[in-house]
Amino acid sequence: MNDASANGSPLLDVEGVVKRFGGIRAVNGATLSVREGGITALIGPNGAGKTTLFNVLTGFYKGDQGSVTFRGEEILGEPSYEIAQKGMVRTFQITKALAAMPVIDNMMLAAPDQPGELLRNVIFRPRASKEREVEVRKQALELLGLFNLRDLADAYAGTLSGGQRKLLELARALMAEPKLLLLDEPMAGINPTLGRRLLDYLQGLRRELGVTVLFIEHDMEVVMNHSDRVIVMAEGRVIADGEPHEVRKDQRVIDAYLGDVAGEPTAVAEPDE
């Protein structure tokens, strides 16, 4: 565990990012970095600015100040599709399955470098997409197999259960061949068994595909057992950053959780163990 975080070069560097909504600073000078090859958890009480930070990083919100360097390139303020093309791919807290499209189309859509997605190629080189389509379909079916969704490939995504949609969204994000995967509460709203399986997938992905993962989570237990590093946010800032066992003892983290959210029993129980 130590090796991964110590040897990896920084993939994502966030410096003093600020995002204001009127008078409210939802993200108030957040600074953090994510090293290549690890699984990093981003935790914090409700309203800490975790999702807002995700939205700024991925270009869905325009950040007001600061700098975001991804793979050595400044990306703050770039449009979301360009950031995704550069290899930072996100999922959403509320799953965005493309409901009236078949599962397989959800997957194939995400694959990069499909010449048939350009209208001029469709018109002037109608055969250009064929080869890539075959390749992408094969890859999509393999990934669906990994997530136990292969039998549902031709079903409409909207007919899937909530948990299956979460898996589909993760699988779809992987089809985009990300360097950094940003997952916004991947375990929310799915049953614990499926949640654990999803975490196992993540561990496997890191090993096999070398994908770096940054994920938002509420459940401290999950975070402690499945991440190499934990970044804690409160009130728009990063208040702690380190290995799980360090962070759980950090007084500021305990205060942030105890002070803000009384109804987070896992967080409260942790420090005494």
């Binding site: 991925t58 869905f60 449009p79 979301s80 599709y81 360009e82 995704a84 093309q85 791919v89 996100r90 999922t91 959403f92 965005k96 493309l98 409901a99 009236a100 499209m101 189309d105 194939m108 859509l109 995400a110 990069p112 499909q114 048939g116 997605e117 350009l118 209208l119 469709v122 109608p126 997409s129 389509e133 409409y156 995504a157 909207g158 007919t159 779809r172 994000a173 985009a176």
Partner: protein, 331 residues
Amino acid sequence: MTLLAVSLDAITNINFWISVGVIAGTYAVVALGLQLNTGFTGIVNFGQAAFMAIGAYTMAILVLKAGFSFWLSLPCAVLVTMLFGVVIGLPSLRLRADYFAIVTIALAEVVRLFAQNARGLTGGNEGLFCATDDPSNCYTNAWRDLSDHINNFVSNFWGDPDSLFPLLLVIWATVGISIFLLRRLQRTPWGRVLRAIREDEDAALALGKHTLVYKLQSLAISACLGAIAGFFLALNLATVHPLDFEPLVTFFAYSVLILGGLGSYRGVAVGAALFWFVLEGTRFIDLPDPPFTETRIAALRLAITGLLLIGLMAFRPQGLFGKREEMVLGE
């Protein structure tokens, strides 16, 4: 029982139904563009009448005022209309779908009112028709020649074909070719991105798709179809007049779309034929004059068409060819 009789000799009048077929085909072309926008890209375009107007007016102005040949004016007018669609779409397609709908309906009215008032260019409320001083300079002449050729050929099989018959052929051939091409487009990876935008634009953005470009392309293709429908309207009526491009045109086209079903190009063709069959067929309902005066029957026809739509929505909300699953899941 003579209360609700139908006059049979009128209803079997083939020339009447040919003219209905011409209108229905024109609306099918209009609604195919709406299908691409609303049914497959999720952008609610209420400005299709504006594209028809710009196509028709550009064609007529190029022929009558700039001395273009009719055949050259057609591609030029299509290009102008598509360019107009892109220019309008660039700021407005960044809006949310419902605001975009409002912008486009306003746009359609602006275009129509401009045509009504820019008399020097568009002839204002007189419309644009053949120059009275020079009958040789008219956009319908070149078409008339071709039309006569077609009818000469057709008269080998059919004694005395209607003068609108060639237009009917050309329009429905256009509908057929457009459906073929649009269906092929829809099956490409490009079409897949459009559907993703319809389902959830943010998801498409997060997967690296430059959604604005796709929406602009969708709108431009729809503008192209609108312009072509504008040509058909101009050839059918032999004039280009602002009142032919009222918002009602777009709403009728939407009725066609809903009747045929969202997400089906073939449904548009069937919907157009059915809509105009009912709307025009109800002309022949014979009711005793008092109390059923002509104006009352005219209103009654619209009411019957409306009832048909309501009935369809109740029993088959996805339209004739729409997929129910897609409609239910799409929400």
